[in-house]
């Protein structure tokens, strides 16, 4: 059966199994409110991992996503205009800023031919330094109506952040699987040389991919700021490993060229589920981290290993 061997389906099945098992084991886990909360948390990872999925399929990796989430969550509160009662303008400015950061990553990778790991890691370090200078150690509070709405409103009982995630998912899946741009990304990831010789504009496609990653990380930063109310240095830190793990758990090849965001979505939910289960265990923070890391590694060993390619 094609459906059973499909990785996205497999990941959904694992999530469902874990949810069912956990709701028997722990009272309250399976409550609607709790599951809704899990998906809401998953939305942040899902947004960061949307851009990461593009980058990984294109054969790269973006290690600056966590820093970009923080940039977004810290710079937004610093921008406030009385003239704009909706709060939309600062959000757009911040998203433009994070997209530009992504484009700079893309420039380094495509034109200066810096390895994606080095380029984005250097970018992350640079941004962290900048943030410390700008924000110092203190948390900044957001007073932006749009951001507040995004993090707290529940139109028709569904968290606004989840709605945002759904909208982004539809766009991402369409662009990835139903446009020539998406096809170019897969081609570049599978064989960059053959893609270039087939006329794929490699430079602009690389730029676009990292730009998208900057944009979705920025969007995740806005959402996390809304949910949290405050931005501080380090707020984005959990999302680096989480975004990559969600991509790989969802069946996207870390070598590039194969995969889908349809797998990343349940991958993100699986990650928050694991986090929730660890919290139930009631371990100390150090042990939680150790458990989380080990569980991700274990899951990847079970499902994420891939055959060597020639």
């Amino acid at each position: 059966m094609a459906v059973l061997s499909s990785r996205p389906f497999l990941t959904v099945a694992i999530v469902a199994a874990v949810w069912i098992a956990a709701s028997f084991a722990s009272r309250g886990f399976g409550a609607y409110g709790h599951l809704r909360y899990l998906v809401e948390l998953g939305a942040v990872i899902g947004l960061v991992a949307a851009g990461q999925t593009f980058v990984v399929i294109a054969g790269g990796i973006d290690l600056s996503v966590a820093a970009i989430v923080t940039v977004s969550a810290i710079s937004l509160p610093l921008l406030s205009w009385q003239a704009d009662p909706t709060g939309l303008a600062p959000v757009l400015v911040v998203l433009a800023l994070t997209t530009i950061i992504g484009l700079v990553n893309g420039l380094g990778v495509a034109l200066l031919r810096v390895h994606p790991m080095i380029m984005t890691l250097a970018m992350a370090t640079f941004l962290q330094g900048l943030l410390i200078i700008i924000a110092g150690g203190s948390a900044v509070t957001a007073e932006n109506p749009l951001v507040h709405w995004l993090g707290n409103a529940r139109p028709a009982g569904i968290p606004a952040g989840v709605l945002l995630w759904v909208a982004v998912s539809v766009i991402v899946l369409t662009v990835m699987h139903a446009t020539p741009f998406g096809a170019r990304i897969f081609a570049m990831g599978a064989n960059p040389l053959a893609a270039a010789l087939s006329g794929v504009p490699v430079t602009s496609t690389t730029l676009a991919v990292y730009g998208i990653s900057g944009f979705t990380s920025g969007l995740a930063g806005v959402l996390v700021l809304g949910m949290n109310g405050q931005g501080y240095v380090g707020i984005g830190d959990p999302y680096l490993l989480a975004s990559i793990a969600a991509v790989v758990l969802g069946g996207t090849s870390i070598l590039g060229g194969l995969g889908t965001y349809a797998g990343t979505i349940p991958g993100a939910i699986l990650l928050v589920t694991i986090t929730a289960l660890i919290t139930v265990v009631n371990a100390s923070p150090g042990w939680r981290s150790i458990l989380f890391g080990s569980l991700i590694l274990g899951l990847l060993l079970l499902s994420g290993r891939e055959q060597a390619r020639r």
């Binding site: 139903a178 599978a190 064989n191 006329g199 504009p201």
Partner: protein, 499 residues
């Protein structure tokens, strides 16, 4: 006399598809044994069985007349069996000497004894005429030289049985000569040699015995004496070969599709070249003289400069592949696995890629239209089977067809082909030749870079022979012959040669 290495009635299936059925082969000392068959006939599988890389489903492998229960690559090495694979197995960043000794480094106090390695590697290199410094990283060598390193690597192990899978497909005429002399000598020293090649002339001169495979079945196991090339082809394809090359008809017009002056790219320096519409222009010469750079430079894939250039009436070089495509240029690379195809993607996706590269980035795709286009191309080129398979499931010949097919919907005006028939079976070769001639007859220009000299002679209007980054000779149709091309390639173009 017991054969050094033999397979007795071996069978092998992959995923239920029988690839070999009850095949026997015996490699005798002091004999060059040819293994012939079209792509997909099972030759590679048979080699893998003989070298222990695969285990047969039925039948036995015998070494020195004794059946080996579980042959492994390590057993094979111990028994003195060396294989020169068609796909090069070298590590680009390691030096020639390191590559040759890889896995069998001489050790001293537990460390690699580099001086002993150098001495032994040097001896192996001399056998194959490799004179480059042994410390040269293999990645810097042209393909033909790398192939020689591969052969030296096999010789380094002092084999008793030497298996060569298409060793000459990337070799120049001189290198081929060195290799055939070497094999002749190894044979006289009592080594058993299994030789796989699509070049029947080589087989006729070098080999004494032949085994022919067709669809996994052995159709001939006989001495080569009293056979001619046409007879061999008949055994391989199971019917009369007809003429390998299509009948030649002039189709060139005086108009230029491409015209460059003082063109430089990569190894090529200050070349003047006109490519006429309706012609097949051959590019010949020894391997690695800059021919590939000429094509890639015109195609915008590597930096190039020129005093003046006109491509399809537009002045200037394309300067980038997307622009070259827009000007009507298309390029089919030599190394289809690395440069031509996306092996992990479907055949359909591979065929559609140039379209994806050209369409507006965010236009919605129609999967049905893509499938239909791919089905049409497959039908046109005789590619059989499910097009939703990965491209790596195809045989070499069919992969090459896909690499060609993907340009067809775009109606290119100039087709740049880099050794399109390398490692391709006779049947596919013929189909490709027909396609090229039909293309030229339709008023398009074809540039055919080839290491196969007969191909150049039989298909081309003119042949530009490249030597040392320059066009050493431009041979017109009337003066075309294998001798003329080879002597121009070797720097003897002043000698009068019969046309």
């Amino acid at each position: 006399m017991a054969p050094l290495l033999a397979a007795r009635g071996v069978s092998k299936s992959f995923f239920g598809n029988p690839v070999l059925r009850d095949v026997s082969i015996a490699l005798q000392p002091g004999r060059v044994h040819a293994l012939l068959g079209e792509n997909g006939a099972g030759k590679s599988t048979l080699i893998n069985l003989l070298s222990g890389a695969l285990r047969p489903d039925g039948g036995t492998i015998e070494v020195d007349g004794r059946a080996v229960a579980r042959m492994t690559p390590a057993h094979a090495r111990q028994a003195g069996i060396a294989v020169v694979q068609q796909e090069l197995s070298l590590t680009a960043s390691l030096s020639i000497a390191e590559n040759i000794g890889l896995g069998a480094y001489p050790k001293r106090f537990g460390l690699v004894d580099y001086s002993a390695l150098a001495a032994r590697a040097k001896a192996a290199c001399e056998l194959v005429g490799l004179h480059e410094p042994l410390s040269t990283p293999v990645g810097r060598l042209p393909l033909g030289r790398r192939q020689m390193v591969e052969i030296a690597k096999a010789l380094y192990r002092k084999p008793r049985v030497l298996i060569l899978d298409e060793p000459t497909s990337s070799l120049s005429a001189t290198e081929t000569k060195i290799l055939t002399d070497l094999l002749e000598r190894l044979r006289s020293e009592g080594i058993a040699i299994l030789y796989i090649s699509h070049r029947l002339n080589e087989v006729m001169t070098l080999c004494q015995h032949v085994t022919v495979l067709k669809d996994g079945i052995c159709t001939a196991d006989r001495t080569l004496e009293g056979t001619d090339a046409a007879g061999l082809v008949r055994l391989m394809v199971g019917r009369d070969p007809g003429d390998l090359f299509p009948q030649w008809r002039p189709s060139a017009s005086p108009a230029n599709a491409v015209s460059v002056r003082n063109f430089s790219a990569g190894l090529m320096r200050d070349v003047d070249l006109d490519i006429r519409t309706g012609e097949v222009l051959g590019i010949g010469g020894l391997v690695g003289q800059g021919q590939e750079d000429l094509l890639l430079g015109l195609y915008g894939a590597i930096p190039a400069r020129t005093a003046s250039a006109t491509i399809n009436g537009t002045p200037g070089l394309p300067g980038g592949v997307p622009r070259a495509n827009a000007l009507g240029l298309a390029y089919v690379p030599a190394d289809r696995k690395r440069e031509g195809l996306h092996l992990i993607h479907t055949i359909t996706t591979n065929m559609m890629l140039p379209a994806f590269a050209r369409l507006p980035a965010l236009k919605l795709r129609s999967r049905r239209a893509e499938r239909e286009t791919a089905r049409g191309l497959a039908a046109q080129l005789g590619i059989k089977g499910d097009l939703a398979r990965q491209a790596q499931a195809l045989s070499g010949g069919n992969q090459q067809k896909v690499a060609l097919a993907k340009w067809m919907p775009h109606d290119p005006v100039v087709l740049l082909l880099n050794d399109p028939t390398r490692g391709v079976d006779v049947e596919t070769k013929r189909e490709i030749y027909l396609m090229l001639r039909a293309f030229a007859a339709a008023g398009k220009a074809v540039v055919l870079l080839s290491s196969d000299t007969p191909e150049l002679v039989h298909l081309c209007e003119r042949v530009a022979v490249v030597r040392d980054g320059r066009i050493a000779a431009m041979l017109e149709r009337a003066a075309l012959s294998e001798e003329a091309i080879v002597s121009a390639a070797m720097g003897a173009e002043n000698r009068k040669v019969a046309a």
